[in-house]
């Protein structure tokens, strides 16, 4: 097989706005019949560079050569003429069409003959070893099947150069293996494949060469066989990084949240959560694994009072045992009721009776801290709004998946975003910006948020810094339960490890941490237990210290909730 160069990039530069340089003077090449990984952290310009080859963007400077001749790729149509096809991270398929219909969609230079197309697709599938059902509608397909359709779409148009943008991000370990087999088969057929990724183990497994980008610049292209994961990391980050997650054993775990039979139905009547049962314990990180959209978001939102619960209970154990009761979060009436139920003892250990005492005497006793809880308080969170939960003195912190659309307000500065949780405090009609401002400064300093100052809009910060602001605020609320959905998505390696460490610190402080993640290696290294969800059901809970990646992968696609061992 000849190893001629099929794509050559020379001095490619692409800017967005006056300050952002997505790619600076990038020169690299792709050879026939090779798998080239394009490796780099989020925001390093991998996707932008590939989009320029695929005709989505046009470079500001520099040239692209295909098979030795200089080309101007102005549109994806141009790219196809040069036999380049890109499979994007977000699929561009029509849900109500079948696989075959999607494949032929937009082809204008040949007769529309679905049967012939199906034959060609089947032949292709045999050649490269993938499975595709031509008549299946897209909306009935799993993510991996949809991805196959996207790949077929590109092959069908005769592409010799395939660009895959983070193809493994949404797949289970088993599906990834299948995809890699297909890619290898295509390589043997002389096709050139570019894979955008930031997962090192996959780079090592699949690629022949690795092109590393950092901050828009091409650092080097190396042979996979002559490099190592740690060397690649160093090239990617620009410095040596310690990739260790500390995982101490949980100390004195106590049930903090108990979810029983939780069912949530969406407006169309579909059960997005179906009979979920689990417990979150203090001093422990509970991981939640699953294919994206398996009900993870709804689960966290149901606990925090943002989703209406159709069935089941969410019980919170307020750590009040041997702590004094106060009127800060409780009305006089409620305290009297609890006293009548025998929930308190006095400092000396005697039972409390308010009988025969005047309201003033009771108030004084409470204010002096004489009245102590016997046990942890049991509070039903179902049907309570986020505000009601907070007013009960319960510190549920929640780092939502949609950082700027839910956790923060993009157009507000860091100080005003700090206030979101605390602005209501006090009876004044005006805002107190002093303490939020101090908190903002503290978070900027301690979490090394790269920002011109505390009065910069969070929208202007990079993904990692936005996340530091959000996680910082949620941790500053001194939570008893901390829930984080995909907290490291889009973050660079250093920021990711900082977030892992913050979560571990919270665990050490006795917080019950719930971590929804997508990277199974991280879940296995960080969590104590991992609960796997699929289609709104819990398909299993495993011990993260002993479980295998494949085991979790199988649970992620399992449809029947059998063998559950919560």
């Amino acid at each position: 097989m000849d190893n001629s160069t099929v794509i050559e990039l020379k001095h490619i530069t692409k800017r967005f706005g006056s300050k952002v340089v997505a790619n600076r003077d990038v020169s690299m090449d792709v050879k026939r019949g090779e798998i080239l990984s394009v490796l780099g952290e989020n925001g390093c310009g991998k996707t932008t560079l590939m989009n320029m080859i695929a005709g989505i963007y046009y470079p500001d400077e520099g040239q692209i050569f295909i098979n030795g001749e200089e080309v101007q790729i102005h549109s994806p149509g141009d790219a196809f003429r040069y036999k380049i096809g890109m499979i994007h991270q977000h699929f561009k398929l029509i849900d109500v069409f079948s696989a075959a219909e999607n494949v032929v969609l937009g082809i204008t230079d040949e007769k529309y003959d679905l049967n012939e197309a199906k034959q060609r697709i089947t032949a292709m599938a045999e050649k490269y070893g993938f499975h595709i059902d031509c008549d299946k509608k897209i909306h009935e397909m799993s993510v991996s099947e949809k991805q196959t359709v996207e790949i077929v779409k590109v092959l069908y148009r005769g592409a010799d150069i395939l660009i895959l943008d983070e193809p493994t991000a949404v797949l289970t370990p088993q599906e990834i293996r299948k995809l890699f087999d297909v890619l290898r088969a295509m390589r043997s057929d002389g096709k050139s494949i570019l894979i955008i990724t930031h997962k090192l183990n996959e780079v090592m497994e699949i690629s022949d060469r690795v092109a590393v980008l950092r901050k828009g610049e091409h650092i080097a292209t190396v042979k996979t066989s002559e490099t190592s994961e740690s060397q690649l990391t160093e090239m990617m980050v620009g410095e040596k990084v310690e990739l260790n997650i500390d995982r101490p054993l949980p100390v004195d775990p106590k049930t903090r949240l108990e979810i029983k039979g939780l069912t949530v139905t969406d407006i169309t009547g579909i059960k997005v959560l179906d009979n979920i049962n689990f417990e979150a314990k203090s001093g422990e990180i509970l991981g939640i694994a699953g294919i994206a959209g398996s009900g993870q978001r709804e689960l966290l939102e149901a606990i925090t009072g943002l989703q209406k619960i159709s069935e089941g209970t969410v019980t919170y154990y307020h750590p009040k045992k041997n702590k004094p009761v106060s009127f800060y979060h409780k009305s006089f009436k409620r305290v009297s009721e609890l006293a009548a139920e025998g929930a308190f003892h006095t400092k000396d250990g005697a039972p409390v009776s308010f009988e025969g005492k005047s309201a003033k005497e009771i108030r004084d006793l409470v204010d002096e801290g004489e009245i102590i809880f016997n046990e942890d308080e049991v509070i039903d969170l179902r049907g309570k709004s986020p505000r009601e939960i907070r007013e009960l003195g319960i510190h549920l912190s929640f780092v939502p998946e949609d950082r700027l659309g839910m956790g923060l307000v993009g157009n507000m500065d860091i100080v005003d975003n700090m206030m979101l949780r605390s602005y209501k405090r006090g009876h004044s009609i005006t805002l107190d910006r002093k303490s939020p401002s101090d908190l903002a400064d503290k978070i900027i300093r301690e979490l090394q948020v790269a920002t011109p100052g505390s009065h910069t809009s969070v929208r202007k910060l990079s993904g990692g810094n936005v996340q530091k602001v959000l996680v910082g605020r949620e941790i500053a609320a001194a939570p008893t339960v901390l829930m984080a959905a995909y907290p490291v998505r889009g973050l660079d390696i250093n920021s990711s490890y900082m977030i892992y460490n913050l979560l571990t610190d919270q665990k050490k402080n006795g917080v019950a941490v719930i971590f929804v993640g997508e990277d199974l290696d991280v879940l296995l290294a960080l969590c104590d237990r991992i609960m796997v969800v699929n289609g709104g059901k819990v398909t299993g809970t495993v011990d993260a210290r002993t479980a295998k990646k494949d085991e979790i992968g199988l649970l992620m696609t399992k449809t029947e909730a059998e063998g559950e061992k919560a």
């Binding site: 001749e69 659309g405 307000v409 805002l431």
Partner: protein, 373 residues
């Protein structure tokens, strides 16, 4: 290989392209707007030169300034008009900040007017000490009603507020027309100014009360939006309803509360128009300020302090053009509208340069690469 390269000339690379700005300094922004305003005036003066009698650009600008600042009375009128426009802008801004697109400023002001005139017409016998507060309360209530109705519908049924408020303008006009036919028996359709319930002059100056109150209100609105919990909540609701839910803001209550405030201020402007200036009402009493104020508050970036500048500017153009029209014998009002339109257009058009910038493709690297070949 060189031959192949020469063949590939059919597609030229673009000379420049347009990219979104990531950031823009206040200074650049100010300069861009200043250029736009200047360009607007220049084009306008040229048009007047072409169509007016001896209206050279210098005469045009001179007339403009005479019209706006020529006499003491003109200055007071300028300030009064500016204050009214500022008042309506202040009324709209909290709703806009909440991304509630209230296009019903006209109707809300008009309802305020109508309510005051209603009191003046039916309770004209009362002493002004009782009548004027009654008028004030009636005007505020009418403005609140006209703003809160679409607010409630938005909060509970997510009804489109733009259409709703827009339609209420016509209902307000219809109500005014109806009352005028009831009140004016002659059938002329014009209600002559009423003598009851006129606002007192302060120190012999009939402008100052309105100006001071509305200017103060703009300052207070700035503080309300910037420093109060209410202002903070409505900004969060406007920026991100999901964040508002996430932190437990009662979104419905905030929408309705804000619209009540918005309507009350519009009603107050209506009260001033009725009790302090016109003493009568017509379907055009709001003077289209409900729409002009959308422009002024948008130009000011929804900042009540900057609205002083935008309201001053718009009022200056309007009043200056009245003089231009008279001096150069333009027979009807359209020249004013043309000029105002041109200046608006220029200001809006440059927002393109605020959001985007033009980048030219560099060719040096290309030649360099060729040499390497």
């Amino acid at each position: 290989m060189m031959a192949v390269q020469e063949q590939k000339k059919e597609k030229k690379e673009p000379l420049f392209h347009i990219v979104r700005r990531t950031d823009i300094s206040t200074k650049t922004k100010a300069v861009i707007y200043a250029i736009a305003i200047l360009a607007g005036f220049l084009i306008s003066s040229l048009i007047c030169w072409a169509f007016g009698e001896d209206a050279t650009p210098i005469d045009f600008f001179a007339s403009m300034f005479t019209g706006a600042f020529g006499t003491k009375r003109l200055i007071w009128l300028l300030l009064q008009d500016m204050a009214l426009l500022l008042g309506v802008s202040v009324a709209l801004v909290p709703a806009f900040k909440m991304k509630f697109w209230n296009l019903g400023g006209n109707g809300q002001v008009l309802m305020g007017c109508l309510a005051s005139i209603f009191c003046m017409f039916y309770f004209g016998d009362l002493n002004n000490v009782i009548l004027i507060p009654l008028m004030l309360v009636a005007s505020l209530a009418a403005g609140v009603l006209w703003a809160a109705i679409p607010g409630i519908f938005k909060a509970y049924f997510d009804t489109n507020e733009s259409l709703f408020t827009l339609m209420l303008n016509y209902i307000a006009q219809g109500l005014v027309a109806m009352f005028i036919t009831i009140w004016v028996k002659s059938g002329s359709g014009v209600l002559s100014p009423l003598s009851a319930g006129n606002l007192p002059e302060i120190g012999g100056n009939r402008y100052i009360l309105i100006i001071v109150v509305l200017f103060l209100l703009a300052g207070l609105m700035y503080c309300y939006l910037r420093y109060t919990k209410h202002g903070y909540e409505l900004t969060v609701v406007g920026e991100s309803p999901n964040t508002a839910k996430y932190i437990g803001i009662n979104v419905k209550a905030v929408i309705i509360r804000t619209l009540i405030l918005s309507g009350a201020i519009a009603g107050l402007v209506g009260f001033f128009l009725a009790a302090g200036i016109n003493h009568t009402v017509s379907t055009a009493s709001a003077n289209n300020m409900g729409f002009t104020a959308i422009m002024t508050s948008w130009l000011a970036g929804f900042n009540p302090l900057l609205m002083f500048a935008s309201c001053f500017f718009i009022t200056f153009v309007n009043r200056g053009m009245q003089e231009v029209r008279m001096n150069f014998s333009f027979e009807n009002d359209s020249i004013s509208n043309i000029v105002v339109g041109i200046i608006y257009f220029c200001v809006i058009a440059v927002s393109f340069f605020i959001t985007y910038q033009v980048v030219f493709r560099k060719n040096e690297t290309k030649t360099k690469a060729k040499e390497e070949n």
